[in-house]
């Protein structure tokens, strides 16, 4: 009897749904065709170097770059002159933190960030620690939120920079950056506020003035633009300074040298423009799909736990633990659906997600977590298929799980002497 339910399941693919389904839109996104069309002429027709000042090829490229800066800045309420083009947000985060830490080191050597930040912030902070800076890594609340008080409590006279992300890439939790920025500036107007806005920009309203931000990291490939292009927004009034991390021809007002990849920048600009125009309606649509996914799964399966605040969350994000079912085995069952897991088995480090750990989620539940990232091109029919597949797969894997059986028999798993290996 058990063997029957433990065997392969069949779920019919609804009409109009094409496999594989991409539901991992926090890792990256498909480039919107409108973005591709905007980029194309800049490969073969307008291929000039934007730094060439003496011919029309250069002028055309430069004009396109300037227009794109305007589109990118407009998305976050900034000015085109404040955009420093980078290769992506990893570089933007490195430049923001290292650049500001270096420039302002005479004012202090203390930085505050959060344990749930992206690795490009965490690892940059670790390097700064090795160079003599002090870094406080705040532990968020169980729902993933960092309060303004947590930050101001950690601030000292030595604090030169606070870095808190707008929205988290794993759990989708959205921080109240406006309240955080206000609290930082109220305590010390000179302390800089950096936010990694990669996952939030273009998905939820964000404005650099309202957040009182000084430095903001962006990446095109999370908003239906091309990979390998991003930006650091650097406030001009009052002027924020950073030491460059890449030296060379003095591009980007000396803050980031290197020939500008014009087609990518044009694509980034177009993606930002579309995001700004469509964000409102898209957020409503994605939140409805996400809620449909959530209800579809949790109405049919018990022992599921959402990781992170459901209220303060990106519209397209659902991160959920399916107790007693290991994440990688579930990913294997969902092989025609691209999602990701916080399970150790799926990471190079063989450690479960450090983000879930920071929230206090136990390792046994972290191993069972799945992140769904619903995006612009997902449909209701896809969501319905995913619900069916997830529910049946979890049921099958639970039929295979000794832990599920023990749980059903009323055995407290904490009372067992396990043999960690």
């Amino acid at each position: 009897m058990c063997a029957a339910t433990a065997s392969k399941i069949e779920v019919t693919v609804p009409e109009g749904v094409k496999l594989p389904i991409f539901m991992d839109n926090h890792s990256t996104t498909a480039v919107d065709l409108r973005v591709v069309h905007a980029m194309l002429p800049f490969f073969t027709q307008h291929y000039g170097n934007a730094a060439s000042r003496n011919h029309v090829f250069g002028w055309t490229a430069e004009a396109a770059v300037e227009a794109a800066r305007g589109q990118i800045a407009a998305l976050i309420g900034g000015d085109a002159k404040e955009i420093v083009i980078t290769s992506g947000a990893t570089e933007a985060n490195n430049l923001a933190l290292k650049g500001a830490a270096s420039f302002y080191k005479k004012q202090g050597n203390h930085i505050i960030t959060v344990e749930t930040e992206h690795k490009s912030v965490i690892d940059t902070c670790k390097r700064l620690q090795r160079e003599g800076y002090g870094v406080t890594y705040l532990t968020p609340r169980k729902d993933g939120i960092v309060t303004p008080e947590m930050i101001t409590d950690a601030m000292t006279e030595k604090t030169i920079l606070v870095s808190v992300m707008l929205a988290n890439n794993e759990i989708g939790v959205v921080q109240d950056v406006n309240a955080i920025g206000a609290a930082i500036k109220a305590k010390n107007p000179k302390c800089l506020f950096h936010t990694d806005a990669v996952q939030g920009a273009g998905k939820i309203p964000f404005d650099v003035e309202k957040a009182k931000a000084d430095l903001v990291s962006l990446s095109a490939h999370k908003m239906y633009g091309p990979k390998g292009i991003g930006a650091l927004w650097v406030r001009r009034k009052p002027r924020v300074r950073i030491d460059p991390q890449i030296d060379g021809g003095g591009h980007e007002r000396g803050m980031r040298s290197g020939t500008l990849p014009v087609p990518l920048i044009v694509g980034f600009g177009k993606a930002a423009e579309l995001a700004k125009e469509e964000m409102h309606d898209e957020a409503i649509r994605l939140a409805a799909l996400r809620d449909r996914l959530y209800k579809g799964i949790t109405s049919r399966l018990t022992e599921t736990y959402v990781n992170g605040s459901m209220e303060h969350r990106l519209p397209g994000n659902l991160n959920i633990s399916f107790a007693f079912v290991e994440g990688e085995s579930l990913l294997m069952a969902l092989k025609d659906v691209a999602v990701s897991s916080g399970s150790a088995c799926t990471s190079a480090s063989l450690e479960p997600s450090y983000v879930l750990r920071a929230l206090g989620v136990g390792d046994e539940l972290a191993h069972t977590s799945i992140r769904f990232g619903i995006g612009r091109f997902n449909t209701e029919a896809e969501v319905d298929y995913v619900i069916e597949l997830v529910v049946k797969s979890v049921e099958r894997l639970r039929a295979l799980s000794p832990l599920w059986e023990m749980h059903q028999d009323g055995i407290d798993l904490n009372s067992i002497q396990w043999t960690p290996h």
Binding site: M1, C2, A3, A6, S7, K8, F324, V325, E326, G327, E328, S329, M332, S343, A344, C345, L350, P352, G362, D363, E364, H367, A399, L400, S401, P402, L403, W404, E405, L413, I416, W418, T419, P420, H421
Partner: protein, 130 residues
């Protein structure tokens, strides 16, 4: 990561899933159970053997773990059926690695399956000694 066809086959059609616990005709004294691993590590295997006349007459398993862990334990139940306890105790994880074509990062799954076999045999022997 790409899985070998054998891993996929065992994952999709696991052999010998279950427990002897609820089977009327099985005497508890005939059964040895090995429970190895830990939920916090992301894999737990439970392997049961039913011993008759010194031979492993039947085996059953349940596993919480990745596809390779499920496949390793499923394969282990197939391998030990019909063996003497001594023969089964000789099975090393490398046999499972070879059979399933496990990549280096999944070797611990085969080790766990070997441990589960040994733990089940030990449990059975302890019961007999009583």
């Amino acid at each position: 990561m790409a899985y070998s066809d054998k891993v996929i086959d065992h994952y999709e059609n696991p052999r010998n899933v279950g427990t002897f616990k609820n089977e009327q005709d099985v005497d508890a004294s005939e059964v040895g159970t090995g429970l190895v691993g830990a939920p916090a590590c992301g894999d737990v295997m439970r392997l049961e053997i039913r011993v008759k006349d010194g031979l492993i007459a039947d085996a059953k398993f349940k596993t919480f773990g990745c596809g390779s862990a499920i496949a390793s334990s499923s394969l282990a139940t197939e391998m030990i059926k019909g063996m003497t306890l001594d023969q089964a105790a000789q099975i090393s994880n490398t046999k499972i690695v070879e059979e399933l074509n496990l990549p280096p990062v999944k070797i611990h799954c085969s080790v766990l399956a070997e441990d589960a076999i040994k733990a089940a045999i030990d449990d059975y022997k302890k019961k007999q000694a009583k």
